[in-house]
Symmetry: C2
């Protein structure tokens, strides 16, 4: 199987490439010019907002499967620049879907959306299924739903596609703007003696559905090579941010003071969100395997090790 991973420079890209190669796929990766791929793979530079470039990459690579991971993935970044977010997340997806649909040898497209498309979920609607109402409530989730509409449109014109709606996924190497990685980084810095034992946190009450990125990329391949459809990907349960914090503190062995930073309390929050993964379990035989504690341990250790390395580099 010939796989094209678009947007391979992000957190998930490296894990997906490793998994696809382990499964025997031939992998070609693309990243935007400024981001290198963190896995050994044949890679190309591609800006998905450049329609002609998307067309020529698809034509020359001739993939069986396109994994489309590219896009602005951080909620506040999307909120700050909607026009850019539309250009990358929506028009960029249109370029990939349209060119995939008109290729003589049509690839299957897996579009990586987000469970954020469910938006303002009410408690009685939990767990959300793929048929739950969508109420996207910020520019990021809007752009993901809009990109789904684009993919569905080309689907009606002959494109074979699936849509993944992952809930929060974590693991070593995630950007420290995301909550679990952020806590782990702060704790590793405390443990290394680089900062005083003080942890800055935002809203700790929100409950979210956390999985390990290594389970998630396994699902991407199962979905892309299986029955086309739209699939939730998560753990099927929720944990509070407080639990994430407590577990990481325990893992680190640090004694820290907690300070709630009003600037890090995100606006109108959904108190609890978790999804039903019945569909993907039934249709694709996928279930998450890595327990939350191990994901947090690995994330913490990654930060701890990388801080050590940078100390050496400076020393």
């Amino acid at each position: 199987m010939r796989a094209l991973v678009i947007g391979a420079g992000g957190f998930v890209g490296g894990y997906l490439i490793n998994h696809l190669q382990e499964m025997g796929d031939e992998v070609i990766a693309t990243t935007i010019a400024s981001v290198p791929v963190s896995a050994p793979v044949q890679s190309l530079t591609l800006d998905i907002t450049d329609a002609a470039a998307v067309g020529s990459v698809l034509q020359s690579v001739k993939p069986d499967v396109v994994y489309h991971l590219a896009g602005i993935a951080f909620v506040p970044e999307a909120e700050g620049n909607f026009e850019k977010t539309l250009g990358v997340n929506v028009a960029g997806t249109a370029n990939i879907a349209r060119h995939s649909q008109i290729l003589p040898h049509k690839p299957v497209v897996l579009f990586v959306s987000s469970a954020e498309v469910y938006g303002q979920v009410r408690p009685h609607e939990l767990p959300v299924s793929e048929k739950s109402e969508l109420r996207p409530a910020n520019n990021y989730s809007l752009s993901k739903r809009m990109a789904e509409l684009v993919v569905e449109r080309y689907g009606r014109q002959g494109l074979t596609y699936s849509i993944a709606r992952p809930f929060n996924h974590i693991g070593p190497g995630q950007d420290s703007r995301f909550v679990a990685s952020n806590f782990a980084q702060q704790l590793a810095r405390v443990a290394r003696g680089l900062t005083p034992p003080l942890l800055e946190v935002g809203n700790l009450e929100a409950r979210r559905d956390f999985s390990d990125v290594r389970d998630i990329v396994r699902a991407y391949r199962l979905i892309a090579t299986g029955e086309p459809g739209t699939y939730n990907l998560g753990s099927g349960r929720s944990h509070s941010i407080q639990e994430i914090l407590d577990t990481l503190i325990e893992i680190s062995g640090c004694k820290v003071e907690i300070r709630q930073d009003p600037l890090r309390m995100r606006g109108p929050e959904v108190p609890e969100l978790y999804g039903s993964i019945e569909k993907v379990s039934k249709v694709c035989g996928w279930r998450p395997e890595i327990p939350l504690r191990r994901s947090l341990e690995d994330t913490y250790r990654h930060w701890f090790a990388s801080l050590s390395e940078s100390d050496n580099a400076l020393g």
Copy 2:
């Protein structure tokens, strides 16, 4: 009532302004720099993609109601440039909705969407109601659905809004890229002896829901000042393009040869589309009053008269 009409330079803008003024509203209109308003009204220049400019117009005008008509309205134009369409129709709408929501004196926003959002409707789904499934199938209808998602998002944050989904509406002054106006223009040119008696047409079998623009703008005010919601606006029945053509030929009194132009046969068409207008009738007391034949007569006479004027201007 103080009304701000954004996008007043299009076909519908002049009719809406006239109607609002007749009803005693104080009207301020905005157009993009390149388009003049066709009605006597206080007008401003506004590019809705300029967020800061949208904010300052809303702050200085302090409207009770914002009528948002601005956007790319021609399907092939949207198809040719998705990024621009996203910028104007989606990000532009976000600028209007966001600034309206954060104003101390919040106006009601009427967003003029389109029945095109229903997209690929199946025969057993007719007439489509506001609860029918949405399957937008081109960049124009996608952008309209996306803009609805944006308005709904700000609605969840406190904006009072309504969404109008008009089906095809026609009348004197419509751009000749739209089918009824196009036929009327061609026939008026034949009647004036400016072209040979030959009519170029596209697909004549499609059945659509046609109303008069003067009925539609009356509905806009009823909706904007009534119960907030999403409303279909149409005639509640369908007519074939062939019927439009035959009626216009009869009105013109011309004998013409019909030539089907393959370039004007739009791609995968929905054979028939018409909407239920039960909701707007019940909630807002609106019903269309102008019969189709009168709309076509007025459209034809408008072209016939304007061609005479341009002849004089040249003579």
